[in-house]
């Protein structure tokens, strides 16, 4: 059953059109990757789902349209969007960041239980709860953003360029945790990545965006075998 469905979605920033008709489907339980070069519209697609940008077309989450929902409502419906650049509250402590993750949907009582669950995936955070999050390393901040997104038990996690600026080992760890979350928390994941190799390894299905619409789609194996994809995005 399709958790997220986009059909012929157009989006624009003021007068400039960024998406010219994107159609894609994310099935429950899948990890789906969005690939493409800079400016292809990957980030815009996520923002269209969240409602951060003007969009037209059909966007359905759990069969219900998202078109009238702003980001606040999308969050309450179970969509967690970790934006480009992580979007942590750098002046707040690690713990306060996690609390903010619970803001919309978790009550005070449940907060302890949910945060414990999430900290289970990031045990190192337990000792750093009081630390100001702006002083964490890039990788730690990305983990915190992920943890914050997970506190509210989202159904869909949207990650925008999680590997940006991070060392390869850290990225590996990050995607290992994402895979774990996908398996253990029934979390559906839509991840935007410029690093095609990485994304294809981590996902079941992928869409390649070009100039605002989907150029190719397929399973990771299919795309890895596809000559065009290999030449333009995988480098061999």
């Amino acid at each position: 059953m399709a958790l997220l469905e986009l059909r012929d979605v157009r989006a624009r920033y003021g007068a400039i059109a960024a998406l010219h008709g994107v159609s894609l489907t994310v099935e429950q339980g899948q990890v789906v990757a969005l690939l493409g070069a800079n400016g292809a519209g990957k980030t815009t697609t996520l923002r269209a789902v969240s409602g951060l940008v003007r969009r037209y077309g059909e966007i359905r989450f759990d069969s219900r349209s998202l078109l009238r929902c702003g980001p606040e409502s999308a969050a309450r419906r179970g969509i967690a969007h970790v934006p480009e650049g992580r979007g942590i509250f750098d002046e707040l402590s690690v713990w306060d960041n996690l609390r903010m993750g619970a803001y919309a949907s978790i009550s005070r009582r449940e907060l302890k239980r949910e945060s414990d669950r999430v900290l289970g995936y990031f045990p190192w955070m337990r000792d750093r709860l009081r630390q100001q999050s702006g002083t964490l390393s890039g990788g730690e901040q990305q983990m915190l953003a992920l943890a914050r997104a997970m506190v509210s038990r989202p159904r869909l996690l949207m990650l925008d360029e999680p590997s940006l600026g991070l060392a390869p080992l850290v990225v590996q760890e990050l995607f290992r945790i994402v895979a774990l979350l996908n398996k253990e928390e029934e979390l559906t994941v839509l991840v935007v990545e410029q690093n095609a190799e990485l994304a294809l390894a981590a996902s079941d299905y992928a869409y390649v965006l070009e100039v605002g619409h989907v150029a190719v789609e397929g399973t990771s194996d299919e795309l890895r075998a596809h000559e065009g994809v290999r030449k333009s995005y995988l480098g061999y």
């Binding site: 951060l52 967690a80 979007g87 509250f89 609390r99």
Partner: protein
Amino acid sequence: MLAFQSAEFVQQIVSGLATGSIFASLALALVLIYRSTNVVNFAQGEMAMFTTYVAWALMDRGLSYWPAFVLTLLIAFAGGATLERTIIRPFERKPPLAIVIVTIGLLITFNGAAGWIWGAEVKPFDSPFPNTTWEIGDVAISSQDVGVFCVCIVTVLALWAFFNLTSLGLAMRATAINPTASRLVGVRVGWMLALGWGLAAVLGAVAGMMAAPTVFLDPNMMLVVLIYAFAAAVLGGIDSPVGAVVGGLTLGVVLNLIGRYVEFIGPELRLPTALLILLAVLLIRPQGLFGHAVVRRV
């Protein structure tokens, strides 16, 4: 020459703290609005003045002081939040100087409206504190000063508690830090902004009502206080709430001491002197005492 008596010195400090706490309240209001909506609200003082007139009107109709005080705070809150939603919000994405002109326009409008509705003649304003002095050894401290200081500080502390101990307060802080990320976790950012203006209006109302007994009620009463509040906010760091409070108290005390002990600065030159001191501090530390140094990442 300085006629220095330690008893009088303490008295000057106490009364400086009282005036300073009024500056601190208004300065905190300015910082609150600046942090949450990135707007310098030139009309903050006039809004405070206007709500003080509202309090006066309520008391004129027979309400006793503290009920009028509380009711005025509620009205101020509602007024501030409404102002943000209707007049300030539309300018979020417009050129920054436009909102500067709008707040200046609000300043002029509130000033004129107060004079038009209630008349421009100076009115007395009741103080809830008795007109007595306490004697502690040699030192005579006016209960008016103590009362003003306590009310302002209690208000500031209540706000501190709100921001640091409640979820809503946390959400407001998060909104000021990163509005987009806040939306993505479900915070209704629009309401946070309105809330910020409402709380700032409450702070202003407290400042106005505490100042009125001493400076008397007239449409121009808060103009000079606003200038001092700005100076305090900038001194403390325009994005630092702690700075605003410390800045306000410091400024109050320093002004009092200078006015009393430095002979050639008469009453007319108090304001330029305060501003000069402020500028001197800024040249050494441009971000203010507690502000964040702007680090430019290239």
